[in-house]
């Protein structure tokens, strides 16, 4: 029996003898593999960024947001877009008797505000909240201080601004102690936040944080000054997070006198947010990857086509090899190995192209293209599999050739 090394050597010699054709055949697999790697890499990159962004919101975070009921009961009281969450809800959740696993609660409302400093004007998101916001959102201060509970109680006109906002508003000097106007109301800046460190979005760094009472009195556009747009809740620790989640949900259901089927709010954890975002990008990745995979299939058909041509061109060679003692299975293996090598070489070059493409696309698109080691391995195995799969039919045709017919053809 012919050994493997000799089989591979013969296959490489045969492919090398038709170099241009082998290269063109590989091109189909090559482009397919590169396309699949790039689309999947883009999807995985987007997923990693979203996950990182959600995780940068804080730790052990539970987010309560208002939602419209989906039950067939029709409209709820208050109607329209009015928030169903209030500062009373936040106070309820802060009560340790009600929710013992909750460490801190930060109700927030936000509005777009036009800012004016002595230097320039700028538009940013203005958030009204409480001092606990800082710990719940895991934010630190670059300079100055955060506002206190007593400033909340007294509706003080003080503001803490994001690092991005600070650079936009003040070209020189420290912003601390400066006065800005927000939608025409004067505020004194008492602190500047550190950058949130999220690479994708600078929203977290372009913000103005003011006491929720001041926000309600001077900036809110809502009729109900008690309403808030969301409530951030920090769990005591990672282990009791699901307990905290249940407590929050139960407390609000009871307070709002609704069942979980027609709840007018939704409670999500970071994990559930990551899951939702991941499932969306996952579907997108699958879709794009699927389109790319079709090109891989076309590449496989190309390999099959060329292998069939190759078999009919080499009828005499096959006949001679059979006359000299090659059994049908040896001939079959010979062509399978040839097709496999075509597939695998195409895959290898495709992977290299994928890496180059990722290096080029990352700065161009401003998105991370994440090509993982498992994805690379899978790509290699798939390209080898496609090559061999495409070789099965041509190889069995070659194996079935009768030696006399093969020798006769001239």
């Amino acid at each position: 029996m012919m050994d493997w090394a000799e089989t591979v050597r013969t296959a490489i010699a045969a492919l090398n003898a038709r170099r241009m054709r082998s290269l063109l055949t590989m091109l189909g697999i090559l482009i397919g593999i590169a396309a699949v790697m790039l689309t999947v890499g883009l999807g995985q990159g987007a997923q990693a960024q979203i996950t990182e962004q959600i995780n940068s919101l804080g730790s052990n975070l539970i987010i309560v947001t208002p939602s419209q009921t989906t039950s067939s009961g029709g409209f709820r009281g208050g109607g329209g877009s009015a928030s169903t969450l209030t500062t009373q809800d936040a106070a309820l959740l802060a009560n340790t008797a009600v929710a013992p696993d909750v460490a801190a609660v930060a109700p927030t409302s936000s509005v777009s505000g036009s800012l004016q400093s002595s230097d320039s004007t700028w538009t940013s998101t203005v958030v009204g909240t409480v001092p606990d916001w800082q710990s719940v959102r895991a934010r630190t201060l670059a300079s100055g201080r955060f506002f206190t509970q007593s400033e909340v109680d007294s509706s003080a006109a003080v503001a803490v601004i994001g690092s991005e906002t600070a650079t936009e508003l003040f070209t020189t000097g420290s912003p601390i102690g400066q006065t800005i106007t927000i939608n025409g109301q004067s505020f004194t800046i008492i602190g500047v936040l550190d950058s949130a460190g999220s690479s994708l979005s600078t929203d977290e760094d372009d913000t103005v944080v003011v006491p929720i009472t001041t926000y309600a009195a001077q900036l809110s556009t809502s009729d109900n000054t008690n309403s808030v747009s969301s409530i951030y809740v920090e769990g005591r620790d990672a282990d009791s997070l699901s307990a905290a989640y249940q407590e929050v949900k139960t407390a609000l259901l009871t307070a709002h006198q609704v069942t979980s089927d027609d709840a007018d709010f939704s409670v999500s954890t970071q994990a559930s947010l990551v899951e939702t975002a991941t499932s969306v990008t996952g579907v997108l990745t699958l879709l794009l990857g699927g389109v790319a995979a079709i090109s891989l299939l076309v590449g496989g058909i190309g390999v099959m086509n060329i292998m069939l041509v190759s078999v009919s061109e080499r009828v005499r060679e096959i006949g001679l090899r059979k006359a000299l003692g090659a059994t049908p299975s040896v001939i079959r293996r010979q062509f399978l190995v040839e097709a496999g090598i075509l597939g695998m070489l195409g895959g290898l070059i495709g992977i290299a192209l994928g890496f180059i493409g990722a290096a080029i696309l990352t700065p161009v698109l401003g998105m991370t293209v994440l090509i993982s080691a498992p994805a690379t391995m899978i790509a290699l195995v798939v390209s080898l599999g496609i090559g061999i799969g495409a070789g099965v039919y041509p190889a069995s045709r070659a194996a079935k050739l009768a030696p006399i017919d093969a020798l006769r053809s001239e």
Binding site: M2, G325, L407
Partner: protein, 232 residues
Amino acid sequence: MTHMLKMTGVRKTYSTGVVQVDALRGINLDVLAGDYVAIMGPSGSGKSTLMHIIGCLDVPTAGTYELDGTDVSSMTEKELAEVRNQKIGFVFQAFNLLSSLSALRNVELPLVYAGTPAAERRERAMAALTKVGLADRVQHRPGELSGGQQQRVSVARALVTDPALILADEPTGNLDSHSTAEILDLFDELNAAGRTIVMITHEADVAAHATSPWHIYDGQLRDEPIGAGAAK
């Protein structure tokens, strides 16, 4: 003397669509070890079919065929491949060398399929090429060799497995008279050294080198030519 080849009542019938062609109609042929047999016949006489069956490239429809003591008449394709590999050395009219391989690699081919280790393969192929006088041409590709040299490479390839039988199908059909003489001398030498040779040809002067000439007409063997045929 031992029988190298023994055919009894071998028939071969082809059915091409509706027509049935009796290519061989009862061939009885005994070849002893060390014989040099020539089989002559015009085209359409069945000599190619006979060559295919002798060469184990095809199996007879009826009758028995023993090669070197083994009945090969009802073997599977895989078994036939092994018999061809071990017992028969082919020399074809068109040389049938692989153009992309060197002379040495061409001669090694039967040993590759026999599973011979690479070092031994090389050694035996070198020895066979030396025997046919091409020791200085081993790295040449067929395209770089003359017709006579190419045919000598294929004789070396036929010898390399030390087969029971050398089967030559019109070995001089593509050669000029000088190369023809060279190849026929080579066959004479091999036969003198004890090789069994069966040669298919339509040229009488080529067949004259053989110790026992046979004639095939309409699928049957005769020891005399008929009509104003090819032989004297």
